[in-house]
């Protein structure tokens, strides 16, 4: 596409946080920048994407604009109406928001065993304890589940959630409230404990219903952890892996915060380590660093890394196993596809109707014939397939179940006949869909068979079994005041839930909370911080020798592959 990208948006001044107009535009160096001027604090400029071609593609997909990754989401009834301050200042969640929540977040504590210098939620820095009671947590869970389009997944965050002794009980509570997928964002504290304690903790969490560890994982070298976390955590991280494996907890997603020249060189190592531990690793989410707080322009330029940088770095470090021009799609790509699968299964869909800039993902799938992990794009022609799925969804979404025989023959015989008829109808629609996508399959084989089974069975177990043997790799760039785009905040699908003192729940998008409102809200909900619990974790950062892992993965200090 030859035309240069240009868009006028609303952003904020990084100094005073006042709303100001901004321009996102492609410049002569084929990069995309955001520029804005605050009447009080002057000009600001930051990079949005280091690859203008790719950026344009993620917005328009095709030059004729026929296919777009900008998808409108469904909305829940708002919790409040926007006032004159508008978005983001009276956020919580108002009528200006245009997506539902697909992932509910709750900060269960701001205590942590680590003190990372860039963390926004730490009791040591804030001096106040934010740790909701179980009753308050249940109130937040009920809030998310009671919406007409309820949140399907919940993630416990912090601080370090596993420093709470009642963490397994909190997990069980989420299961009771009906969440289908329960995750914990953790540095691994509870799971890494030596002498069988970590394994026992993992088992208790697993039994309580914990599905996935969203596991802070910056690399495979102590040197990296010293830079990012101020401690040599490589053994600690491996203990988490071993204890989870021993406890049968086999759904771990690595989360790597990427900053230029700090952790970006570990991207390939992390993918390799995930493949080598594919029996318990389900995915990797790279998160380009979000620069909350005051920072000089020079530091910003040094650390800033965009989603496009991450994808190019991965291509370089995997020697083209994952390619920018073939493998990565915005999260919104699979909106209709996800709705179709949920419709087939008769379950609630997870709606990825966020902004195209928020994140990109791809899948590596285990080829049962060659027993290697390969990009899923080697097996299918994605764009026409998705286009077909979109058209198919339009046909399916208003399809009603028949009650013809019930009306004719009554509740007993008629209802049974209708049930059978509706089941057959649904199976025929599934088969029609599979036949419809057939021309876009490049390489059928076992993969097609497994994919067909997911569509045909469609329940959570089938979807889960598909995810075993595949590796989701994504890059999610959270916003900061420098690159803030109000449109992204309005489309956000990752929402914090905060129990407020007046008995209500504040539901607010991730980036809005962390950048603008967290401090003010925490002042209202904080408790006095005592010395309680500090000793609980301080002795356990270093631990005993562990059993060897399956394969180390990555490269050693000489740059040679570790066998």
């Amino acid at each position: 596409m030859k035309q240069k990208y240009y868009k006028e948006i609303i952003s904020v001044c990084p100094e005073c946080f006042e709303k100001i107009p901004a321009i996102i535009a492609e410049e002569s160096d084929s990069r995309v920048y955001i520029t804005k001027t605050c009447p009080k604090h002057g000009d600001f400029r930051d990079i949005i994407s280091s690859d203008a071609m790719y950026y344009k593609w993620t917005h328009y997909a095709s030059p004729d604009n026929e296919f777009s990754f900008e998808k409108d989401g469904e909305t829940n009834p708002p919790d409040r109406q926007a006032d004159e301050r508008g978005c983001p200042w009276n956020c919580g969640l108002c009528n200006l928001h245009i997506s539902t929540c697909s992932l509910a977040l709750i900060d269960v504590t701001n205590r942590c065993n680590l003190q990372c210098n860039f963390c926004y939620a730490n009791v040591e820095k804030s001096g106040v304890l934010v740790e909701p009671s179980q009753e308050e947590l249940r109130r937040v869970m009920k809030h998310f589940r009671s919406k007409p389009i309820p949140a399907v997944a919940i993630m416990f965050t912090g601080g370090e959630p596993t420093v709470r002794k009642d963490f397994p009980e909190i997990v069980a509570m989420a299961k009771e409230e009906g969440f289908k997928e329960i995750l914990v964002a953790t540095n691994g504290y509870g799971f890494q404990k030596p002498n069988g304690k970590g394994q026992d903790f993992a088992k208790r969490c697993f039994d309580a219903g914990l599905d996935t560890l969203y596991f802070q994982f910056d690399g495979i070298h102590n040197a990296t952890y010293l830079k990012t976390r101020g401690a040599p955590l490589w053994e600690y991280k491996q203990r988490v892996m071993e204890n989870c494996r021993a406890a049968g907890m086999d759904s771990i997603v690595f989360v790597c915060t990427l900053a230029k020249s700090v952790t970006d060189m570990e991207a390939g190592n992390i993918i390799q380590y995930a493949i080598d531990n594919i029996d318990i690793v389900r995915g990797i989410i790279f998160q380009p660093v979000s620069l909350c707080g005051r920072i000089s322009y020079e530091d910003l330029r040094d650390l800033r890394i965009t989603n496009a940088d991450v994808l190019h770095e991965i291509e370089k470090q995997t020697n083209g196993a994952l390619r920018v021009d073939r493998d990565w799609y915005p999260l919104t790509t699979i909106v209709e596809f996800g709705r179709l699968i949920a419709w087939y299964a008769g379950v609630e869909p997870i709606e990825f109707t966020c902004h195209p800039d928020c994140g990109f993902a791809t899948y590596m799938v285990l080829d049962p014939q060659t027993k290697t992990l390969r990009s899923i794009m080697e097996y299918l022609d994605p764009l026409p397939m998705i286009e077909f799925a979109n058209k198919f969804w339009k046909k399916v979404k208003d399809r009603k179940e028949s009650n013809f025989f019930t009306k004719l023959l009554g509740e007993n015989v008629g209802a049974t006949l209708d049930k059978g008829f509706n089941w057959l109808d649904r199976q025929s629609v599934k088969a029609r869909f599979l036949l419809g996508v057939m021309p876009y399959i490049r390489n059928p084989g076992k993969i097609m068979e497994v994919f067909s089974k997911v569509i045909m069975n469609g329940n959570w177990e089938s979807i889960s079994s598909f995810s075993y043997g595949s590796l989701l790799i994504g890059s999610m760039h959270f916003q900061d005041a420098f690159n803030f785009n109000l449109e992204r905040a309005r489309r956000c699908i990752v929402h914090f839930g905060v129990p407020m003192p007046d008995g209500t729940v504040l539901e607010t998008p991730f980036c809005v909370y962390n950048n603008f409102t967290r401090q003010e809200v925490e002042k209202q909900i904080c408790k006095q911080y005592t010395e309680k619990g500090k000793e609980e974790w301080s002795q356990n950062v270093a631990g005993e020798e562990i059993t060897p892992i399956i394969r180390d993965g990555g490269v050693d200090e000489d740059g040679n592959p570790i066998e």
Binding site: I275, Q427, P444, P561
Partner: protein, 99 residues
């Protein structure tokens, strides 16, 4: 890793903190036997969790049939010129969407 690399290169000097973290240069995409077994047992666990044996049988049969048709159609497509292929795909999509 070559034998030369294994034997020839001395261990880098300095503590772990001082050693520069290296980038991977080539991804090894194969999986270990142990990981394979763990995966297979997990998939079997999910298969067992499905409590509808009849439905499961029907669906497995349909998926196998669809896969066979997909393989066949791929082979047929190889014999057809690209332009005709495109037209056939369009007609096929319209047919599948006509309900």
């Amino acid at each position: 890793m070559t034998a030369d690399n294994k034997k020839g290169k001395p261990k880098p000097k300095g503590t772990d903190e001082e050693v520069k973290v290296r980038q991977l240069t080539e991804l090894r995409q194969d999986t270990t036997e142990k990981a394979q077994k763990a995966l297979e047992s997990r998939i079997a666990y999910f298969d067992k969790k499905r409590e509808k044996p009849f439905q499961e049988q029907v669906e497995t049969m349909v998926s196998k049939a669809i896969n066979a048709v997909a393989e066949l159609s791929l082979n047929v497509r190889k014999l057809v010129p690209e332009e005709t292929q495109q037209r056939l795909t369009e007609i096929w999509a319209k047919l599948m969407l006509a309900f």
